[in-house]
């Protein structure tokens, strides 16, 4: 560390966003480029802690050695920084863009100041790696002769596939959609992740020898028996695609969609380069998004870009405090008010609102019926939220998007035929080594863990790969 007191004088800075008027007119990423020196300055804010909470159990799930690459960036050793980052994280270009950065909320500097801009530094390292051509295929030195099927090509599946391949196994990734990438390709809006970035990484995997079989729904197109016959081990990484629905009167009306269907449609539209009409656009319509999370925010940004008349978002819980709530002290993930880019772009939020019914005309939704909630303490110290009498109200909307989270993996034919045990939440049950109840079948990512962060998916994929490798070697004896 060049200057141990740099953190006192240097201020946190993250890249500027392109002005709202400009950015909503196109679908691309919207951060302005930043000078190399400025990123170095940000890295110099790192205190190189004795106990870096950013990389421990309170911080980064893949245990990125953040202080190390901060130090390298500060000294301009970008390539070494990339090596350090890749040692723990297969896809820093994804987490650098998409991660909510629990590392930053655990950053020690955050106790007394603003945390280090870790995520941005990470993204810069990764992007520079691609730009400089440092990210090259690293095929295994020798083959083991084992073959592994990875079902699902989201972040967990891809991480598992890359790790397994580098250990010398033959790896085939199955994807039911026409192109690999899973949630990354179809769930994340283009303005958060330009698909060209994903394609660069997929090219690397392909060059390392990972085989992709897209458009194949395992369980349907390939039977479980066939799968087991062909492969020595299977890793299920099919995600947690079952969305939570809202069973209120009027749910069946047209214009009410699940958020992920809506987002996927937009991604396909961009991919095809032509409009698809499976789901209508929000253009010139009044949109209501139910659910205050990231998916809701993604929907909002998408709607704004599609040209919605208005975008409004309902959240069941009360508005969080402006700064870290006392109940979530550092270094915990803070409960606090977060404002995404979409909220800048024109999305109103309402808190403590429950939707009671939809009504409409001609089979299409026109009106939302809702009520405001209040907090009521329970005897055991917890609290519940109950409707406040007399606060019922109505709101007009033409499109309603349900972004209320996910309940777990879709109960596909694959899971049924494999006879893997599920846990009480409906996710695939595994032991610590990612082993399901069926020998040779492993699970990783949201399918096993429930809906979570991309960075957790990568961690799961890596861990599962390690377990599978150990298991294969042990089986061989």
């Amino acid at each position: 560390m060049a200057d141990p007191t740099a953190f006192l004088t240097l201020r946190r800075a993250t890249p500027d966003r392109v002005a709202v008027e400009e950015r909503v007119r196109n679908w691309g990423e919207f951060y302005r480029p930043v000078a190399e020196s400025s990123v170095k300055t940000q890295a110099a804010r790192c205190m190189d802690c004795g106990v870096p909470f950013c990389q421990g159990d309170t911080g980064c799930p893949v245990h990125n050695i953040i202080p190390e690459w901060n130090g390298l960036v500060q000294r301009g050793e970008w390539r070494e920084a990339l090596d350090s980052l890749h040692a723990t994280n297969n896809f820093p270009e994804l987490t650098g863009r998409l991660c909510p950065a629990p590392c930053e909320s655990a950053c020690v500097l955050g106790i007394v100041n603003e945390p280090v801009a870790i995520r941005h530094i990470e993204q810069t390292i990764a992007d520079r790696g691609f730009a400089e051509g440092w990210i090259v295929p690293r095929p295994p030195r020798r083959a083991t002769g084992f073959s592994v099927a990875v079902v699902g090509s989201g972040p967990a599946g891809l991480a598992a596939a890359q790790q397994l391949r580098r250990l010398g196994h033959d790896v085939v990734v199955f994807e039911k959609n026409e192109r690999a990438g899973g949630l990354l390709r179809y769930g994340i809006p283009e303005f958060k992740l330009e698909k060209s970035v994903l394609d660069l990484r997929l090219d690397q995997l392909g060059a390392e020898g990972v085989q992709f079989r897209s458009g194949i729904d395992v369980g349907e197109d390939v039977t479980v028996e066939e799968l087991r016959a062909e492969f020595d081990a299977v890793c299920i990484a099919t995600g947690a695609g079952a969305a939570r629905d809202l069973s209120v009167p009027g749910r069946e009306l047209g214009g009410i969609h699940l958020a992920m269907d809506f987002l996927t449609a937009q991604n396909r539209r961009l991919e095809a380069g032509s409009p698809l009409d499976t789901i209508e656009e929000a253009r010139d319509r009044r949109v209501l998004i139910i659910g205050g999370g990231d998916t809701g925010s993604d929907c909002a940004g998408t709607c704004v870009r599609q040209g919605a008349l208005s975008v409004r978002q309902f959240e069941l819980l009360p508005q969080p405090p402006g700064r870290r709530a006392d109940s979530t002290p550092w270094p915990l993930w803070p409960m606090q008010m977060r404002t995404s880019h979409a909220h800048e772009e024109g999305c109103d939020r309402e808190w403590s609102v429950a939707t009671t019914a939809f009504s409409g005309e001609n089979g299409r939704v026109k009106r939302i019926h809702a009520v405001r909630l209040e907090r009521r303490a329970l005897a055991d110290g917890r609290a519940e939220f109950v409707p406040m009498p007399g606060t019922e109200f109505e709101l007009e909307a033409d499109v309603v998007l349900l972004a209320m989270g996910f309940t777990g993996p879709v109960k596909s034919r694959l899971l049924v035929d494999l006879h893997v045990a599920l846990d009480p939440r409906g996710a695939i049950a595994t032991d610590e080594a990612h082993r399901t109840s069926v020998p040779g079948i492993f699970a990783a990512g949201d399918a096993k863990r429930g809906a979570s962060l991309i960075v957790w998916a990568i961690r799961e994929g890596r861990d599962a790969a390690e377990s599978i490798d150990k298991w294969l070697r042990a089986e061989a004896r």
Partner: protein, 1545 residues
């Protein structure tokens, strides 16, 4: 002696003492000599100790010339007719008391006497008076008999008496050997066996010696020489034979390098021969007996060398050489004498004042450090009296011809046959001229430097590189792969190697070590990590290798050794290396040596890799262990073969590693070969050099040297350093060769530090001394390959060592194709993928959430996490569990408030902590009835008496802010001997951290660096510690005195000594704690876990019957109630916490304490950062009540109502075997859980296992001169009236003035009374610590002389000391006060009209002193005040002096040479204000003391003033210039320098 049991081992016993001799210069025998020597001995009683029963002495004795007339008188009635004087020998034999055993032993003695052709004239019962003894001593008393041996048939020689002495020596050695063969033989001891001298000694107090041995009272028992000794042993089972004098010497001190010296002695026995002994020599080996004390071994060596023909002084000069290596003015001949002898023998290194005699000459000397006092007087009637203290023998002033003190490394010889006294110069000049040492060295000695230069020239000459011996396979291995094989981590590169190569220093860290012991770590550990450095505590001072570098040396000699008992030119034929870390060029040059005697042979320390893929296969590890073992045996065999074939150096190299070859861990390779060659008797023929890829840290190198390597070539580390510092990465930092040189320099500094903390000055003595303790290695391994190393809890052996090595090896050859990277490591900074840390994000967060939110539920989550972690993989206590018992309801357990009283926070200074953090802890601890600790940085007087007062005030080596008021404001005074993070080391607070407030509290100057010396300069020995305790009790009778030690093997025995020195509380600190900044290698590799140290201490104190006397406290990463209960069961009454309360205050273990950048405002003085401090006393209170509550829950579960009932109850603990952790499963904790019982049980039904007596009986301190002074001063104390009194004083009146000063400070604080309110005129010889802590208003005016430590902690008082008016000697050239005067003085004045000893005004921070000459190290570490020296200074003047000013009258222009100019500059006294001040002080001195010297200088002042030199610290001058705010610099200097200091009279 009590047997080894549990963790207690009698081998750790230490002793120290008072020594002395009385001799008549012309050898006239008299009764006077005997009686005076015994009187002298009695007056040194306070330097000895008594056991728990207050009656058993530690040992006393006397050595006399054979009193022929007396013996002839007493022998004739028992039928022994003695021949002429000198033609018979007297054996003083201590025999077993059982008649049958006694007879058996006597038969042995008689038969060997006869067998040697002498005749046993008969036995005489030595009459003794048993009533004198304590009951315990009486029970074990041997029977004393003298045997008389007449010479017969001994061949006539040039010196017949010599040959008879040799004959008697041979007889005695044979008897000793024969006695070992019979069962009762070990109870028989020959105290002396000589035709010249006889020794009377025993387990006695000094005052018991004469009444016990009635011979000594007989009027016709006379002698011209009498050597006496009184002993202070750390144990209470001193045996009769351990009393001094031995046959030739008595010794005050400790040989730190004993193990090495004994080893090398054994090694040299292989080539010993002497014409005097002829073939008999073999029967006399080993030279040094087994299981005896260091002094006894030194005596054996001296005896051998002397009887083999070297003069007495010669033998001692080679055993304990003075510091010659860096000496500026020593003659070339004398240096050559020492250099030559460095080839012959390594120094017996350690503090030593030795008095020795062969019955004709009597002599004394000090070791190079001179840390033991020795004063002498030559009388007008031709006696010489030498003693540890001046005034121990009352000699009329008129009879004193001269007085003096022994100086470091100097010797004094009285030759009674020639009737002359020889001073050091005369002795050494003579020794150096006996043989052509200078020519021998010049012709024979080869310097490695020369070899390198020759080789470079040769290479250039031939224009091609000479092929070096390097294995091919490794050329193909990239550096990274080799680093992986040797287990290098990213952490090490970043935190250790990089900084060393950049700064040339060892890096510092902070916040202790919370990683697992090596044997509990799940990561493969280097074998080095299983070893812990030992360090000196209490009995033996650490050295400051930086400020006192003049005594240190890293030089080594390579090549074979020669016959110790002869002197030839060939002895010098060795290769000399300046320091032991060899570069590539150097080892290549070494390999190029062709001389058949010196040539080097390289042996490969490798073993075959077996099936790297089958790591998990059961049975594989056994095979791998066997493979390692086989390879090691082969290596040893090859070593023997190489030696047999002829070579002088064996290079043990792990070059040549590859996919199929793994390195034998280098400590194992070196130590195994070392011990193998010793066993084979071949070790003398070669030196070992380790070419090690593994060695990289200072501790790695030190370990290799300690186990027999003479040099190390750390080739992978050197390559690593060069690669790290490659030009493109390094920028402006040093690179390439420069980086390697800095790295080597850093290693050298680190080695000096490791040696010096053990009190060792020369690497030659450290080599082979094995001063390491193993934790986690099994006894099979230790006994065979690390013979003699303590390892007390068992652990891993060959198999797991091989396995760990192969795991590292395997990582270099993995299939994965990621960019190859070193493992994170995570030892120094937490890394999720690295080593485990107990303080990690989860535990830190939980603890903070619990205490801030006042949530016991969250605290339980924290404690569960912490306990699970400790159980899972990190600490010894984690492997222990409670033995379940019948529970009781929680409300029957004593309340939490009874438990929180036992809690303390650790010593963290204000200065290391911010005021906010420091005071928050104090407030919290005062609220909950516990105690906070000031640390060593003093305390703001505004806090005294308030809720912010620290109950514990620390007295550390720098004595910052230790004023009278500070001391009387404490409930407990803690003498910090060591601290867990860096035992045996000093510290340094850099100037930029010393702000105005810190400077005020520490009595120093803002911006000026503050140095804490490694040792307390008033604690060089156990009796010194007793003296400091005495001083503190004298000034603050109500405060408890505690002594802080750090856990290591042998700490229990030290603690027993501390208890006998009357401490009230002993703190055993673990190795793992430590919040301050320390060198990383000390944090990680020194000291042992508190569990071991605490249990050993508990066991030792119980065995000694001392446990009830003292409270026992422990600390070191305690976190939970479980930790507290385990600690109590292992023996602790009280519990210290430091890291955890800091975390409660907001600390997040940044480990940046040393950088002042603590982001949470705890370890910083930066106002901006301090503003962020968020800790609250309530949080800390919550934490301690949570712990107390958890303790109560465990107590209820175990059915125990009070904590007292748990203490020492190891029977309530059991070891829990670890199921799946292979390494921890090898541990054996039975020694830890040993339930000790007293060796002497007075009441068999009750064993005291915890502290019972509330206060120690202070009767010794009460009464006496201090009480008298206090009584008479009442009018002054009560009403401010002037009081004048006159008293007589002797050397047993100690710390005179301290009690009165304490009372002044209690009533009036540091402001004190007006000057001279109380004046005491004293006449006589003052005991130690005269005027200690003297407060303002008190004037002590002494006519006579004083001993060590006058004006210690002077707090405003005035001391006037002068020689008796009637003295015949030259006052200003004669020693008047002892060593270490004005240590830690903060204000006040001292006028000393005579010469002072070593370390005058050491750590003075504000006192004014005038003195007429000082010894070595004057004004050391001074930070303030003014010192005027009207005369000469010793060497190393002003070392580490960062503040204040000294004026030296430098008539002979020597000061430049004598001064350590590292921090100061010398200038003439030209500024008028300086001149004025100087003159005023000299006038004052003349007026108060009547000094003739001062008057003379004043009489010719204009001339004199030109001879004065001002010694001013550079940094200090700058700081004052800064403070002067633009005023002309010189004015500013003056104003600052003399600020408030010259207001008097």
């Amino acid at each position: 002696m009590t047997e080894k049991q549990g963790l207690y081992d009698p081998a750790y016993e230490h002793d120290a003492c008072g020594i002395g001799f009385v001799a008549h210069i012309h050898g006239v025998r008299s009764r006077d000599v005997v009686e005076k020597s015994l009187e002298l001995l009695r007056n040194l009683t306070h330097r000895s100790a008594v056991a728990a029963d207050a009656c058993t002495g530690d040992g006393a004795g006397i050595l006399l010339q054979i009193p022929h007339l007396f013996l002839r008188r007493v022998c004739s009635p028992v039928g022994i007719a003695l021949p002429d004087a000198g033609s018979y020998g007297v054996g003083m034999v201590l025999l077993p008391s059982r008649p049958a055993d006694r007879a058996a032993c006597e038969r042995v003695v008689e038969s060997i006497v006869a067998d040697e052709g002498c005749s046993a004239l008969g036995w005489r019962d030595v009459p003794v008076e048993d009533d004198v003894l304590s009951a315990a001593t009486r029970r074990g008393r041997p029977t004393m008999r003298q045997i008389f041996v007449a010479r017969m048939g001994v061949s006539r020689d040039v010196d017949p008496s010599y040959s008879f002495e040799v004959a008697l020596y041979v007889i005695r050695r044979r008897i000793e050997t024969a006695l070992r063969e019979i069962p009762s033989g070990h109870n028989c001891y020959l105290a002396s066996f000589s035709s010249r001298t006889v020794v009377y000694k025993g387990m006695l107090r000094p005052d018991q010696l004469m009444p016990f041995y009635t011979d000594l009272s007989e009027p016709d028992l006379t002698s011209a020489i009498a050597l006496v000794h009184s002993r202070f042993s750390t144990n209470t089972f001193p045996s009769w034979r351990l009393a001094h004098p031995y046959r030739f010497l008595c010794h005050n001190g400790e040989i730190n390098t004993l193990r090495g010296n004994l080893t090398w002695m054994r090694v040299r026995e292989g080539i010993m021969s002497s014409s005097r002994f002829g073939k008999r020599l073999a029967e006399m080996l080993p030279v040094c007996g087994e299981n005896q004390s260091d002094s006894a071994s030194l005596d054996n060596a001296l005896e051998l060398l002397t009887l083999a023909g070297r003069p007495l002084a010669h033998a001692m000069a080679m055993l304990v050489p003075e510091a010659w290596e860096g000496h500026g003015t020593m003659s070339a001949e004398r240096k050559a004498f020492y250099e030559y002898h460095a080839s012959v023998m390594e120094p017996w290194d350690g503090p030593a004042a030795v008095a020795f005699t062969d019955g004709r000459q009597v002599a004394a000397m000090l070791d190079r450090n001179g840390l033991r006092p020795a004063r002498y007087v030559v009388t007008a009637d031709d006696f010489v009296v030498l003693s540890s203290e001046a005034g121990a023998l009352d000699i009329p002033v008129a009879n004193i011809r001269a007085k003096g003190r022994l100086e470091p490394g100097k010797m004094l010889v009285v030759n009674t046959t020639q009737g002359r006294i020889l001073d050091d110069e005369a002795i050494k000049t003579e020794l150096a001229s006996v043989r052509p040492y200078r020519r021998w060295v010049a012709e024979q000695r080869i310097d490695l430097e020369t070899l390198v230069a020759d080789r470079n020239a040769a290479i250039q000459g031939e224009g091609a590189a000479l092929e070096t011996d390097r294995a091919d396979s490794e050329h193909s291995m990239p550096l990274m792969a080799r680093q992986q094989i040797f287990g290098y981590t990213a952490d090490e590169l970043k935190m250790v190697l990089g900084p060393m190569a950049e700064a040339g220093e060892e890096p510092a860290g902070s916040m202790g070590n919370d990683t697992p012991l090596a044997v509990l770590s799940r990561r493969p550990q280097l074998l080095s990590s299983y070893f812990r450095q030992m360090f000196a505590q209490v009995t033996n001072p650490a050295i400051d290798p930086i400020r006192e570098q003049l005594v240190m040396s890293l030089a080594m000699n390579l090549g074979p050794q020669h016959n110790l008992l002869e002197e030839t030119a060939e002895h010098a034929k060795q290769i000399r290396i300046a320091q032991p870390v060899l570069s590539e060029h150097e080892i290549d040059a070494l390999r190029g040596v062709t001389d058949p005697v010196l040539r080097a042979v390289t042996l490969r320390a490798l073993f075959p890799v077996m099936d790297a893929d089958s790591v998990n296969v059961a049975g594989g590890s056994v095979e791998r262990g066997v493979a390692l073992d086989v390879a090691l045996q082969a290596l040893c065999r090859k070593a023997s073969e190489a030696v047999a074939a002829g070579c002088g150096v064996l290079i043990l190299s792990d070059r040549g590693i590859g996919p199929d070859q793994a390195p034998i861990p280098s400590p194992l390779a070196v130590s195994a070969v070392h011990h193998h060659l010793i066993r084979e008797g071949l070790r003398w023929r070669v030196s070992l050099v380790a070419e090690s890829g593994e060695a990289r840290e200072v501790s790695h190198i030190a370990l290799l040297l300690a186990y027999g390597a003479s040099a190390v070539h750390p080739y992978v580390a050197l390559e690593t350093v060069a690669a790290l510092a490659r030009p493109e990465a390094a920028g402006d930092k040093p690179h390439g060769t420069a980086a390697k040189e800095r790295y080597v320099k850093a290693l050298g500094k680190g080695l000096l530090k490791i040696m010096s903390k053990m009190g060792i000055s020369t690497l030659q003595s450290y080599c082979g001394a094995q001063l390491w303790e193993a934790v986690g290695l099994n006894s099979t391994l230790i006994d065979r390959h690390f013979t003699g190393t303590p390892s007390r809890v068992g652990g891993i052996g060959m198999e797991l060592i091989a396995e760990e090595t192969l795991r590292r090896h395997g990582s270099a050859f993995e299939v994965a194709t990621d960019v190859p990277r070193l493992e994170a490591g995570g030892e120094y900074q937490y890394r999720a993928q690295g080593e485990h840390h107990n303080w990690n994000p989860m535990t830190i967060a939980k603890l903070q959430h619990a205490t801030r939110g006042d949530s016991y539920t969250t605290f339980k989550e924290f404690s569960k996490l912490a306990n699970d972690e400790t159980r899972d993989q990190s600490t010894l206590r984690g492997l222990l569990d409670f033995v379940e018992r019948e529970p009781i309801p929680l409300d029957q357990v004593e309340p939490a408030s009874a438990i929180t009283r036992r809690f303390c926070t650790g010593a963290m200074s204000f200065g290391s902590l911010s005021a906010e953090a420091h005071e928050t802890l104090a407030i919290a601890m005062n609220r909950l009835g516990g105690r906070s600790n000031s640390g060593e940085g003093g305390e703001d007087p505004a806090r005294f008496g308030t809720e912010r007062n620290s109950a514990i005030k620390q007295v550390a080596s720098a004595r910052f802010g230790v004023t009278a008021e500070y001391i009387v404001s404490a409930d407990e005074l803690q003498i910090k001997i060591s601290q867990g993070a860096k035992p045996g080391e000093g510290g340094q607070l850099p100037g930029h951290k010393v702000d105005a407030v810190i400077a005020r509290i520490r009595h120093s100057t803002a911006g000026v660096t503050l140095i804490s010396p490694p040792p307390h300069h008033d604690i060089y020995s156990i009796e010194d510690l007793a003296q400091l305790i005495y001083d503190l009790k004298a000034i603050a009778p109500k405060a408890a005195v505690s002594v802080k030690l750090v856990s290591e093997a042998g700490v229990g025995t030290i603690a027993a000594g501390v208890a006998k020195a009357r401490a009230d509380l002993i703190l055993i600190s673990g190795d793992s704690g430590g919040t301050g900044a320390s060198p990383l290698s000390s944090i990680m590799r020194a000291g042992s876990p508190w569990e071991l140290g605490l249990a050993e201490t508990q066991q030792t104190l119980v065995i000694n019957g001392l446990r009830g006397r003292v409270r026992l406290q422990t600390d070191g990463q305690l976190k939970t109630g479980r930790d507290v209960v385990v600690a109590a069961m292992l023996g602790a009454d009280e519990f210290g916490f430091a890291t955890a309360p800091l975390i409660v205050e907001g600390c997040v273990i940044m480990r940046k304490c040393h950088l002042n950048t603590c982001p949470v405002g705890i370890a910083t003085q930066d106002p901006e950062l301090r503003a962020r401090f968020a800790g609250q006393p309530e949080h800390v209170v919550n934490y301690f009540f949570f712990i107390a509550e958890e303790v109560r829950e465990i107590m209820a579960r175990l059915g125990v109502r009070t904590l007292d009932a748990l203490i020492g109850r190891t029977d309530m603990l059991r070891a829990i075997p670890s199921s799946e952790h292979a390494k921890s499963g090898t541990l054996d904790l039975s020694a830890l859980l040993h339930l000790a019982v007293p060796a002497v049980r007075t009441r068999p039904d009750r064993v005291t296992r915890h502290h019972v007596r509330l206060r120690l009986n202070n009767s010794e301190e009460e009464g006496g001169l201090n009480s008298l002074l206090l009584e008479r001063a009442e009018p002054a104390l009560d009403r401010g009236e002037q009081v004048k009194q006159s008293v007589l004083i002797t050397n047993s009146d100690r710390a005179v003035g301290a009690t009165l000063s304490g009372e002044i400070a209690r009533r009036y604080g540091n402001r004190g009374l007006p000057h001279d309110t109380i004046t005491v005129r004293l006449t006589g010889s003052a005991g130690q610590s005269f005027g200690a802590f003297a407060a303002k208003g008190l004037t002590l005016d002494l006519e006579g002389e004083a001993n060590d430590y006058i004006g210690k902690g002077l707090s405003g008082g005035k001391l006037i000391i002068r020689h008796p008016r009637t003295a015949q000697f030259i006052a200003d050239q004669t020693v008047l006060v002892g060593n270490t005067a004005l240590y830690g003085a903060t204000s006040g004045e001292a006028y000393i009209a005579g010469v002072a000893g070593e370390r005058f005004a050491v750590r003075n921070s504000g006192a004014i002193a005038v003195v007429e000459g000082v010894g070595d190290h004057g004004c050391e570490y001074m930070t303030g005040g003014t010192v005027v020296v009207l005369g000469r200074t010793g060497r190393n003047f002003a070392a580490g002096m960062s503040g204040g000013i000294a004026f030296v009258l430098d008539e002979f222009g020597e000061l430049q040479q004598q001064c350590n100019s590292g921090m100061v500059e010398l200038a003439p006294v030209t500024v008028s204000a300086e001149r004025e001040l100087l003159r005023r002080l000299v006038e004052q001195h003349a007026r108060l003391t009547g000094s003739a010297r001062a008057k003379r200088e004043l009489g010719q002042w204009d001339r004199s003033v030109r001879h004065f030199v001002a010694v001013v610290p550079k940094e200090y001058r700058k700081a004052l210039e800064r403070q002067s705010d633009g005023a002309p610099a010189s004015t500013g200097v003056r104003r600052g320098l003399f600020m408030g200091e010259a207001r008097h009279g």
